[in-house]
Symmetry: C2
Subunit: 467 residues, 2 copies
Amino acid sequence: MNLVATLSAIVGSDHVLVEAAAIAPYLIDWRKRYQGSAQAVVRPANAREVAQVVAACANAGTPMVPQGGNTGLVGGSTPDASGKMVVISLQRMNRVRAIDCDNDTITVEAGCVLQAVQQAARENGRLFPLSLAAEGTATIGGNLATNAGGTQVLRYGNTRELTLGLEVVLASGEIWDGLRALRKDNTGYDLKQIFIGSEGTLGIITAATLKLFPLPRAQVTAFAAVASLAAAARLLDLARAGAGAGLTAFEVMSAGCIRRTVTELPRVRAPLPLASPWFVLLELSDHEDETHAARVLETILSGAIDAGMVQDSVVAASIEQSQALWRIREGIPEAHAKAGGNVKHDIALPVSAIPAFVEETNAQLSARFPWIEPAVFGHLGDGNLHYNMGTSAGTPIAVAFEHEHEINRIVHAAVAARGGSISAEHGIGQLKRAVLPEYKSALELKLMHQIKETLDPHGLMNPGKLL
Amino acid sequence: MNLVATLSAIVGSDHVLVEAAAIAPYLIDWRKRYQGSAQAVVRPANAREVAQVVAACANAGTPMVPQGGNTGLVGGSTPDASGKMVVISLQRMNRVRAIDCDNDTITVEAGCVLQAVQQAARENGRLFPLSLAAEGTATIGGNLATNAGGTQVLRYGNTRELTLGLEVVLASGEIWDGLRALRKDNTGYDLKQIFIGSEGTLGIITAATLKLFPLPRAQVTAFAAVASLAAAARLLDLARAGAGAGLTAFEVMSAGCIRRTVTELPRVRAPLPLASPWFVLLELSDHEDETHAARVLETILSGAIDAGMVQDSVVAASIEQSQALWRIREGIPEAHAKAGGNVKHDIALPVSAIPAFVEETNAQLSARFPWIEPAVFGHLGDGNLHYNMGTSAGTPIAVAFEHEHEINRIVHAAVAARGGSISAEHGIGQLKRAVLPEYKSALELKLMHQIKETLDPHGLMNPGKLL
């Protein structure tokens, strides 16, 4: 029996796709940079079927590519061009297996769309805080495989910090049931941590037990103009001191980003004159009420204005106004895409290193490429910037792409020199695989390869990604 | 050159102890249950020396036992009786290497005493929240090796969640520099997670970069009488809904525990009549002020009283009163020790499973041992109970110890049946090593052994512990 027949016997022939038209959407990544090919796309219904599919592929020596919502930004979930790989789509595994409000946990299958997890929590009076642009399509399995970040990391952490337990199908086809719902468990190596963020290269995550939180009773949002990134960092410190964990978002964006967004997206308006070089979007979540939240925010902002950190500010007076402020921040990637895209970097640095990094790297890039125009925004509270480079008026964006490799090298070298990360939240996938050895020590790479060889000795789990 | 001479050449002969009197304190654990023996105790001054010591021991085929403050409760940091092992004490490595307030991080060497780390943070207007009974002696390296918990886990997480980066001397004698100060870094497997909680069996942690937090401006504490653990769990839910992350401690204790503590420790007084079976200690931390904190606490308590969750309560009106309330909770282990000790279990369960677990397991134990008297307290907010068993008046505690093995089996079986952990925060060490295979799946144990063999192929790192 050939592999496709074996797979059909496991999942049913309806769930083994081989026709070119049927498999096409699974072969190309979200940004349409990586076009692959595959023997088949298999859509198992449960962990047992995943285990049998993995065992069958392993038996045939066939490499496997796990795929969730296929919204990744680094080509981590699409196959190579060989046509030999099998894509294992987790999308049919979309059940909420259990929700335990008294323990503040939810157990979901890997193919659950992130928004569905958020909604299941909310229907039970709980918050699942992971939130990111692709949440309507991205699956929790993909979020786990890439340790997704998003806009609430400042308060709630990355996907890793939200995870209590995992169920994983190993490269051997065995199912590891690590679905614990415990906040403390010191009975040996914390195996789930090895799989989180491993981009499908060590096994296939089939389910997870995740933390829930009480729903805040109020959220207030403000938009503040600041003279510099250093001033933004001081405002962050003041806001954390004044609100503690109540500070649930602290996003920064350059005036240029906002200008571009307002121009490209008619639904977006600038809430303040764009007279400052940088703007901050702050969000406070509160467990008391709107009045209290507004008072805390007001105290922070007036302190910041008195201290000269903030030049101008506006506080959303309603949910609609708050959404309008968030639309600016969330519209930035779309606005830049409409304008032809730019050369992107998803970097992390110590927050203390960010002001000098941006100033010095901007200067270095401008000196080398006089036409360059930075479009910088991101999660300042997490030290995570989307440090993207476009072109100034009159220079087509194609010029930036021609120099993409050199721009990347300059940016990544500046990041590495300051102890930063060349991939804060998007992962490595295919996009940064070739450059990873330049920014990791040989010893760290050796350890990673040792782990890989231990857990996937035949190298069949998502080969060509990450390592 | 023999090993002791080689070690002396590395660290200086003053720092290689071989005399019986000098090495004695390093050979017995905190609870004085594990008396070992050793070739020598080595006290390296820095990571380079640790690396050379490890390489020398590896070269000689000599097993190594890393040791910090030697306050562990499971015999994880003392040598076996063979006399062949070398104890590597990290206590001389007690420097704070760096503190970065703008990034809210501190980098410390493994031998820093926990209290010194807390203090360095406080002197810089920051909070390092890890807090536990042995903090005046325990070192951060030991906290990392055991993924220590403590009283602030509810808000800030275990030691694992407080860690951004590690420096580790591997079994090969190589130094892995993973000292990153980043809140987001998705560039491959998160290697630090493998070493945290591995109890020295995979390498020796020599330094760490840890998260800091803004100092709360006020803390308020209350003591509440509840009719049942189920009522305590409902109070927890109400307090989380009303205070969010402001709820920084939620400790539960039985009336019996308090009675014993008041009897044994003259410095401790009961703040309420001990007319209820259970009591809760709640602490709220606030970034506004004392008045606001008191108002939030009052709202929670009056809601709980109205809903019938709380039968009686007292709020500390001063720091002294708050300390007096904490003295009750913190005095429990000492009071029981004075009274002859008891049979201890450090267990974790889903919070939702705790009321039935305690009721049913108490009943099961009483049916088997009519003289048994439970002494239960712990971190209810984390699902972590110190589920300890003493004897009722008239039965000497020695009777309980005679049946320790059977008591453990009954308790651990009840924990396992409800998806719990037999070691929530103390680890496995020597104490639970033999029983671990009964409560872990064969597959999970196999994965742990594979990791162990990959990172410590000759089995020289703290053998006889954990695995």
